[in-house]
């Protein structure tokens, strides 16, 4: 049986893990390497490092962090935020990341997804969607939830699949950091039309929220931040709760 994956999402600013609400109002949480190691040792299935200020080439950049994390963490690692070119993707993969996520640049330059998946294989290209509810639909946002695009998030998900992404990561900007639960309707709408694995992020405030989400058909993985960072639940507690709710997880 395949397992629903529990992913720790570490948003990085300078050399710190930070956490905001609606991707804004950032607070320092701690050292990325220490947190990554801790979550790894407690049985997390994957880790996503997101550069929240897209400062890939700044001092203490994310590549250095990943390079060090990969020496001690032997599970899949994803890097995102600020990746703009094949050159950046190459550098990210060389630093030890297994997968990269693209949002802003995918919208600005969709051919990048096509080219990247041809060169590196679609399995390492994740299309990231930051969606904000707009009446009865959702709009895709870029620049870490700051800029609107006028693009329908659901249609964009389908387009990303056509371009060749191997997975999609859906973040509800409305729910992100609120601990109010996931935007299930958004997830359902996307799961209905795409056939690649879907990672959902943004809103987990309790183990029940996670179980409710993972019961939806088509959800392959859930990414959590606040729950873990603020010690509201441990990896064990979340996985055990998922298991009790009939979700198949790796214990």
């Amino acid at each position: 049986m395949i397992k629903t994956r529990l992913i720790a999402r570490l948003d990085i600013k300078n050399e710190f893990v930070i956490k905001g609400i609606h991707l804004e109002g950032l607070r320092k949480i701690g050292d990325p390497l220490m947190l990554a190691k801790m979550y790894y040792e407690s049985g997390i299935d994957e880790i996503i490092f997101m550069d929240s200020v897209a400062s890939l080439y700044g001092r203490n950049n994310l590549f250095n962090i990943i390079e060090n994390a990969c020496k001690e963490v032997f599970i899949p690692i994803t890097i995102g935020g600020g990746i703009r070119s094949i050159h950046d993707i190459d550098a990210a993969l060389k630093s030890g990341a297994d997968k990269i996520t693209l949002n802003t640049q995918a919208i600005k330059k969709p051919e990048l997804i096509k080219e990247a998946s041809r060169i590196y294989g679609s399995q390492c290209i994740i299309g990231s969607i930051e969606a904000k509810r707009k009446g009865k639909s959702w709009e895709a946002f870029i620049d870490n939830g700051r800029e609107q695009t006028g693009i329908d998030a659901i249609q964009w998900a389908s387009k990303l699949e056509d371009l060749g992404v191997g997975e999609l990561c859906i973040t509800s900007v409305d729910r992100e950091g609120t601990k109010k639960g996931f935007d299930i309707e958004l997830v359902q709408n996307i799961c209905e039309i795409v056939n690649v694995p879907i990672i959902v992020s943004g809103g987990a405030g309790s183990t029940k929220h996670i179980s409710d989400l993972c019961k939806q058909k088509g959800v392959s993985a859930v990414a959590v931040a606040s729950l873990l960072h603020y010690n509201l639940a441990s990896v064990d507690q979340i996985k055990n709760a998922m298991k009790q709710d009939g979700i198949v997880v790796r214990i």
Binding site: I2, K71, I75, G96, R118, Y120, G121
Partner: protein, 213 residues
Amino acid sequence: MSKKIVIIDYGIGNIKSMYNAFYNIGFKPELTSDNRTILNADAVVLPGVGAFSKGMENLNESGLHQTIHEFIKKGNPFLGVCLGMQMLLDDSEEFGLTPGLGLIKGRVIKLPIQPNSIEKLPHVSWNELREPREGRWDGTILKRVPVNIDVYFVHTFIAVPKYEEDILAISDYGGINFCSAIHHENIYGTQFHPEKSNQRGLSILQNFVDLIK
């Protein structure tokens, strides 16, 4: 004497992860595409993710195709991981029909998931390893590995060995049993990523090193 482990660097995939995994269990593998270094190794690993045709193109252009054959003839342990395992077979249906290294009889095909299945492609997940028959794992890279352990997979294509004896492990996805590890004499292959499958994955790599005589 310290064991000389070589990871073949042919310009594809995340080879650093493989290096880090071996380093963590106490070895310092060499990353190289140098034919002589490969031939002198005690054990060789062929990693790789991505497209079969691109991988084979790189192996053919660099002369590594021949080197791998020569190394394997020496009888030292060889491990292909993910694409590195798939390339051990005769050919792949990935883009048209691309010839592989031809070290294991069989073909690489797309996971035959039904279009209406809830399972998706690529197969990205932790999934279980099963032993094809009791005792098959004895003395191999999967020795002492608990049956049904979870390891990390990310792939769309699968290897279909012609001979059942070459199948070392079986996994299931979307109701389809597929070959998740192969073994033929000194040749091993894993469809999953031992270097990304936590401590258990590392113990599989340790078993591989232990095969060095």
